[in-house]
């Protein structure tokens, strides 16, 4: 199908589609999205678009059936929607937790990684590459690649490698090669650029598994569709358990894959408020001179631009150079955000909020000691939000627990140690690391 053809039918089609299918035709979300990539990648993008349409949208060869079966058997889906008794009491509202932390690998990331690696297999690809920041997407991809017997190379910034050694080890245990990226600051955005470079040379036999709803079309829609299982389940579970829909749905947002996964099936439920919680870092102020944003609140504080293949909201300086973002949670530490979220924020459908490092850490300790669930630091932002804004929420709130905190124990020790966290346990035996 030629793109010119697609474009002519676009407006009408999109208008008729429910919100959770937005962008499928052409990767456009209002002004956001698109395919801003080097020409050399275009054939791969087109091949992928074709495969996405056939296998994912049309379930050709039973792709979606196999995907769902593997998500269940290998991944452990469905994940529960659990009532959080003690938080419900604390906030005098019904708080429900969507337990993506129970997914194999410990985060929602596997939904996408498994989908893409399986798709690569259906496409006849022989090799997987991926980038990773915190290492969560990398470990999920490495697991999926081992499970499906695909050779896999993961690019990871050198600085991230040093911050996330257990995740590096996990990837290697799963048989993946981990390639350190030494350019720039050695974090996620450099790793993405590097992976794109690899892909530009190897498109014929290689699939690039992007880790969030970012990048050129069809990645944002495809990753969303793979992650949408979260809200598909949560919506059904909420109806079963509570007899109705939630008043509010809360999810943290880095690139935004767990966010859109959690929102997708609620987008058309206009009475359900959707809250995307970004990392407010240490402050929302930006240091233009140094090119540093001490946060990664691109929905809240970013401006329109083009990054990594898509038009979206970015943290950038006035020249358009991408800023160094910062967050206590490396998985939220990204200067961009998925174009669909940028669109939904502009439309007023999604409420963007920023929660700072301190509040996130308190959220981390709060969920750990009141509910017996140690969340990822990314996830902890959602609980920081709950604490600060519960009075603005309705009577039934679903919060996505996007991941578990095992990967963050060292960071939690270090960060707790640096501040006065009111609800932290006695840390004396841990300071100085484990």
């Amino acid at each position: 199908m030629s793109e010119t053809d697609t474009r002519t039918t676009e407006e009408t089609e999109t208008a008729r589609r429910p919100g959770r299918e937005r962008g499928r035709e052409d990767g456009k979300f209002g002004r956001y999205g698109g395919q801003y990539v080097p020409e050399a990648l275009m054939p791969a993008i087109e091949e992928l678009t074709d495969a996405y349409e056939r296998y994912v949208l049309d379930n050709e060869d039973g792709f979606m059936d196999e995907f769902r079966e593997r998500l269940a058997d290998f991944g452990g889906r469905p994940t529960p929607l659990q009532r959080a008794d003690r938080l419900s009491e604390r906030y005098d509202t019904e708080v429900y937790l969507k337990r993506e932390d129970l997914l194999h690998g410990g985060a929602h990331k596997l939904n996408n990684a498994l989908g893409q690696v399986l798709l690569a297999k259906y496409m006849g690809k022989e090799r997987i590459i991926a980038e990773t920041g915190a290492g969560q997407h990398g470990t999920a991809t490495a697991m999926a690649a081992a499970h499906l017997d695909m050779p896999c190379t993961i690019y990871m910034g050198e600085r991230d490698i040093n911050r996330q050694r257990p995740n590096v080890f996990r990837m290697k245990l799963n048989g993946s090669e981990v390639k350190p990226v030494t350019t720039g600051r050695g974090t996620l955005k450099e790793a993405i650029s590097e992976t794109m470079r690899d892909w530009a040379e190897t498109v014929e036999d290689t699939h690039y598994v992007i880790g969030s709803i970012v990048g050129p079309h069809p990645f944002p829609v495809m990753v969303r569709d793979f992650q949408a299982v979260i809200s598909e389940e949560a919506r059904e579970q909420a109806r079963e358990k509570t007899g109705g829909l939630p008043t509010d749905v809360v999810a943290c947002a880095g690139g935004g894959s767990n966010t859109m996964g959690t929102f997708a099936h609620f987008v058309d439920d206009e009475d359900v408020a959707l809250h995307a919680v970004e990392a407010g870092g240490s402050t929302l102020e930006v240091d233009e001179e140094a090119g540093v944003a001490p946060n990664s609140a691109s929905l809240f504080a970013g401006e329109e631009g083009v990054l990594h293949g898509a038009r979206t909201k970015l943290l950038q300086d006035s020249d358009g150079q991408i800023m160094e973002s910062h967050s206590v949670s490396s998985g939220l530490d990204y200067a961009g955000v998925g174009p669909e979220l940028a669109y939904l924020v502009d439309e007023g459908r999604v409420d963007p909020v920023a929660v700072d490092d301190d509040a996130a850490l308190e959220g981390f300790h709060r969920l750990s000691n009141t509910e017996g669930i140690i969340p990822a630091l990314e996830t902890a932002h959602a609980f920081g939000y709950l604490e600060e804004h519960h009075e603005d929420l309705g009577e039934r709130v679903v919060v996505n627990v996007s991941g578990r905190g095992d990967k963050d124990l060292d960071a939690a020790i270090e960060e707790t140690d640096q501040r006065d966290v009111a609800n932290a346990p006695d840390m004396s035996m841990f300071t100085g690391g484990m």
Binding site: E3, G34, E39, A40, A200
Partner: protein, 281 residues
Amino acid sequence: MANSDALDAAFADGPAYVPYLVVGDPDYESSKAYVEALDRGGADVIELGLPFSEPIAEGSTIQEALVRSLDAGMTPDRFFAFAEELEVDAALVCMTYYNLIYQYGKGEGPRPFVERAAAAGIQGLVVPDLPAEEADPLREACDEFGLDLVFIVAPTTRGDRLDRMMANVSGYVYVQARLGTTGARDDVSDQTTASLDRLSGYDVPKAVGFGISTGDHAERIVAGGADGIIVGSALVDVVAEGVAADLSTAEVADRLEALSRELKGGAERGHRSRTGTVESA
């Protein structure tokens, strides 16, 4: 065929030698000396790289040059000042990423960037992350200010995509000699010949780039049908060596000029072999 006379002229007689350097690498003044050395070495068109922080289409050689330039304080405004100050005969093309172009407009799209580029004496743009599908606003601004918009054709570009691109391109088409990102290579790819064959029906100069590093390469490429050669990494390597070995600006400029002569000479030999007696490639 081209909006700019200068680009038309560059490809008018004989093969064009199109070198690329990153503006501001490793600093503003040296960089100016280097670009002028390219000109002395026979450049017909010079591609001036305006550095972006996330250069997804570049190999490591050019990426490191972009970082050196950014670290030394390069910005779009300084880039334009640089272009204005240059004293060169070659036509000037700006190569950069779309976010810088877009952001320069402060909400008014790509037009302000193009307007400023035109004022600075830039005759064309290459934007590696801007596909033809998204190029309408930039195309319009280029047309308005008489700039050419160069597209890159990959070895894999075919069919509808190729048609759409060729309908939009002007000045010259940048024929990517192989898959992958920029970077000097030792051989010349078969993919080049195939690409040139595929493009033979389109009436626009074809400049081949990606991996050309010697006069020999240049000769073979032009003998194979190219209207010009684009050389980036091989030249940026010379700058990088200068930084590493702490060479004087004059010394690096001399080397750039010498390499340029070799490349240009190779291209001319190739042209003669194609138009005159056919030498074996």
